[in-house]
């Protein structure tokens, strides 16, 4: 009869990235201790939680996976000294991007040690429960939400962009070390910069995607993407300076842009 129930109740499809040294060992210990937890999550083993590229997380969501869990060693326990700090930086950025499309609560970062077999079972159970409460991802199933899919695609491209990767990669250097002029950017100031960059790159990559299908004017882009035309214009000019878009033609006084 269980099968009958299963057909009606939603069983989320989850993906977990586990670091080799702590979380994966913790998951194994759950097994050795015969801890029972729901079978919804599939695991990809990585050497370090800091290896998890934001692109992986977004790609999984784009494919309709209902939730993604990244697990690493507790802070201070990292086998690679401070790889889990890198994981935090990447994860935080990813989450901020996803908040634009309401998918941010479908990803989670947590630390599970090699002795926390019970806890591994607990956190996975909790994740399953929480995602169940959220319901299926709008990108899952045979008819995913196309508009949302476009946005998530834009996010995937944005997290992979040189600017975002450089910001995340340099965060530590910028906030912890002085530059040649003896200046250091405080954590809070950096956060402001980061938030701004996230917003900009999200919009820019949406513009790029929109221009991929066909060439458009700033005004049409604004309507399509529900953005203020002045912002669209600003972004488009930036993209032009980055050689990512160019004028295709000018109709009347209106320039038509295309993606390069």
């Amino acid at each position: 009869m269980r099968m009958e129930e299963n057909r009606v109740s939603f069983e989320p499809k989850l993906l977990g990235f586990l670091c080799n040294w702590c979380s994966y060992a913790g998951a194994d210990l759950a097994g050795v201790s015969r801890i029972q937890y729901p079978p919804n999550m599939r695991v990809i083993r990585v050497m370090c939680s800091g290896r998890v590229d934001p692109e992986f997380v977004i790609q999984a969501l784009e494919l309709g996976i209902d939730g993604v869990y990244v697990m690493g060693c507790h802070i201070g326990d990292c086998h690679y000294l401070d790889g889990n700090y890198e994981a935090i930086r990447k994860f935080d950025m990813t989450k901020k991007f996803l908040s634009f499309v309401g998918l941010d609560n479908r990803i989670r970062l947590d630390w599970v040690s090699a002795s926390e077999g019970v806890r591994f079972g607990e956190v996975v159970s909790k994740f399953v429960e929480d995602i169940k409460a959220l319901g299926p991802s709008p990108l899952s199933g045979d008819t995913p939400d196309q508009e949302l899919l476009e946005k998530v695609k834009a996010i995937r491209e944005a997290v992979s962009s040189n600017r975002m990767r450089a910001l995340v990669g340099r965060q530590r250097k910028i906030t912890e070390e002085e530059n040649v002029y003896g200046e250091k950017v405080p954590e809070e100031e950096f956060d402001v910069l980061m938030d701004q960059a996230i917003k900009e790159e999200y919009d820019r990559h949406r513009i790029l995607l929109a221009l991929e299908k066909d060439s458009k004017s700033v005004k049409d882009l604004g309507i399509e993407l529900n953005l203020d035309p002045s912002i669209v214009l600003e972004h488009t000019l930036t993209l032009k300076s980055r050689s990512q878009v160019d004028f295709q033609k000018i109709i009347g006084n209106t320039p038509i842009f295309m993606r390069i």
């Binding site: 040294w21 702590c22 060992a25 210990l29 050795v32 201790s33 015969r34 060693c73 507790h74 201070g76 326990d77 086998h79 040690s113 090699a114 002795s115 926390e116 077999g117 019970v118 806890r119």
Partner: protein, 435 residues
């Protein structure tokens, strides 16, 4: 470097023995490692976390365990003891008693089916007898080698000629009741390293702790017992509960120098208790932010790297109060709440404090069996029955070619044990390489 034909014998498979063995093996020297218990790992495997980083103990130990087990230059004799040693530096020979596990080592895959079926429940030594294991068991879950052992003293087959359920359950036919103890002869040993660690005062003399209510009151536990209670894979799954009523303690007293720095018991300082007590209190606080901890101490001994800031953090962020004091007595009220009567050295008054749980930082003592081992090896012990070492050269024993490291010659923390283990390996290598 040319191949060396002499090997090293490492006695003891705790963190010190493991480090010494790994260093030697990585130098290309063959090592025979002898561990009395069914699995290597020693005390460190019993710890939940380690100070001052509060690293998860098994997380950082486990890779070393498997490295040790798999290393092509290390032969591990677990559940074994050294029975005889002859010869001199550069050319020792030894006899090892390899006790029968009644398990075919190469067949057992640690699946645990036999454990589920075994009807005999036995006090679990690894968990300080805070829970039961079966007569067929793995010493601890993450233990290496990851194979079962049958406890001959407790197994129904050996005691009553009945049962053998494990044999029927095992799909690998790994159970072998016919197995016998073996004597293994090792020749051509260049150097020997003794790293058999320590025992705790409660292991050899529980009476000493009676004054502190240990064994008398259910809510008085030893520090190592508390460590197991804190551990996520321990007997309470990491949720600390009192033994009297299963309630989570909100007020814990940690008593220092129990048996150490004492005229009645041991005169020396156990070196590690001030630090692990703070760690235990911190971890307990992390489990429950309403917890109040009281540490009753004589001198706070925190000389190692990062130790002082660790104590400061304990006081500032983990609700730990340090009380310089002398404990007069411990009693309990009708609800079995321990009451500590002490002389507060800050105001010279006799004061009382009622708590939910008492944790005793019990004294480190030389490991059980040290006299016998010292006799076998022909090495001297010091006034305290630890291994006697050369002044300023803590890894040298009274016998040329026999080295030591870790708590078997002096109470010390893990970093110092590990450093000494490497140091002992260097000295052992000098002899093996004919230097």
């Amino acid at each position: 470097m040319e191949k060396v034909s002499k090997s090293a014998l490492v006695i003891g498979g705790g963190i010190a023995g493991i480090q010494a063995a790994l260093d030697l093996a990585d130098m290309g020297i063959h090592v025979d490692m002898v561990e009395k218990k069914p699995c290597i790992g020693g005390r460190m495997a019993q710890l939940d976390k380690t100070f001052p980083t509060n690293d998860c103990s098994i997380c950082i130990l486990a890779p070393k365990l498997s490295e040790c087990y798999r290393h092509p230059n290390i032969t591990l004799y677990s559940y074994s003891e050294v029975q005889k040693v002859e010869g001199s530096a550069g050319n020792f020979s030894a006899e090892i008693l390899k006790r029968a596990r009644y398990i075919k080592e190469e067949e057992c895959i640690n699946c645990g089916l036999c454990v589920e079926k075994c009807p005999m429940r036995v006090e679990d030594e690894f968990d300080r007898e805070l829970r039961k294991r079966r007569a067929i068991y793995i010493y601890y879950l993450q233990g290496v080698p990851a194979i079962m052992t049958i406890d001959k003293e407790k197994c129904l087959w050996f005691t009553k000629n009945a049962c053998r359920i494990c044999e029927k359950t095992c799909e690998r036919e790994a159970i072998d009741f016919e197995q016998e103890d073996q004597i293994i002869k090792l020749e051509n040993i260049g150097s020997i390293i003794v790293a058999t660690g320590y025992s705790l005062i409660e292991d050899i003399d529980k009476d000493v702790l009676k004054n502190y209510g240990y064994g008398k009151f259910r809510n008085v536990v030893s520090a190592l017992e508390f460590e197991r209670l804190e551990c996520a894979s321990g007997p309470q799954g990491g949720h600390i509960k009192r033994f009297s009523d299963g309630k989570t303690p909100k007020k814990i007293a940690f008593l220092q120098c129990i048996g150490s720095r004492s005229d009645r018991v041991e005169k020396y300082c156990s070196s590690i208790c001030c630090m692990y007590t703070t760690k235990e209190a911190m971890i307990a606080y992390e489990h429950d932010n309403e917890l109040e901890s009281y540490v009753f101490y004589i001198d706070m001994r925190a000389g190692g790297k990062g130790f002082q800031s660790f104590l400061r953090r304990g006081a500032a962020e983990y609700n730990i109060k340090y009380i310089k004091s002398k404990i007069a007595q411990i009693t309990v009220d009708e609800k079995e709440n321990p009451i500590i009567i002490y002389e507060d050295l800050d105001n010279d008054k006799i004061t009382q404090l009622k708590v939910d749980l008492v944790v005793l930082a019990t004294c480190i003592v030389p490991p059980q069996g040290i006299d016998n081992l010292a006799e076998i090896l022909g090495i001297e012990l010091n006034d305290y029955n630890f291994i006697k070492t050369t002044p300023f050269i803590p890894v040298e024993t009274s016998k040329n070619g026999v080295f030591t490291c870790g708590c078997v010659h002096e109470p010390m923390d893990i970093p110092r044990s590990v450093a000494e283990a490497s140091g002992a390996a260097a000295k052992a290598a000098e002899i093996i390489r004919g230097g």
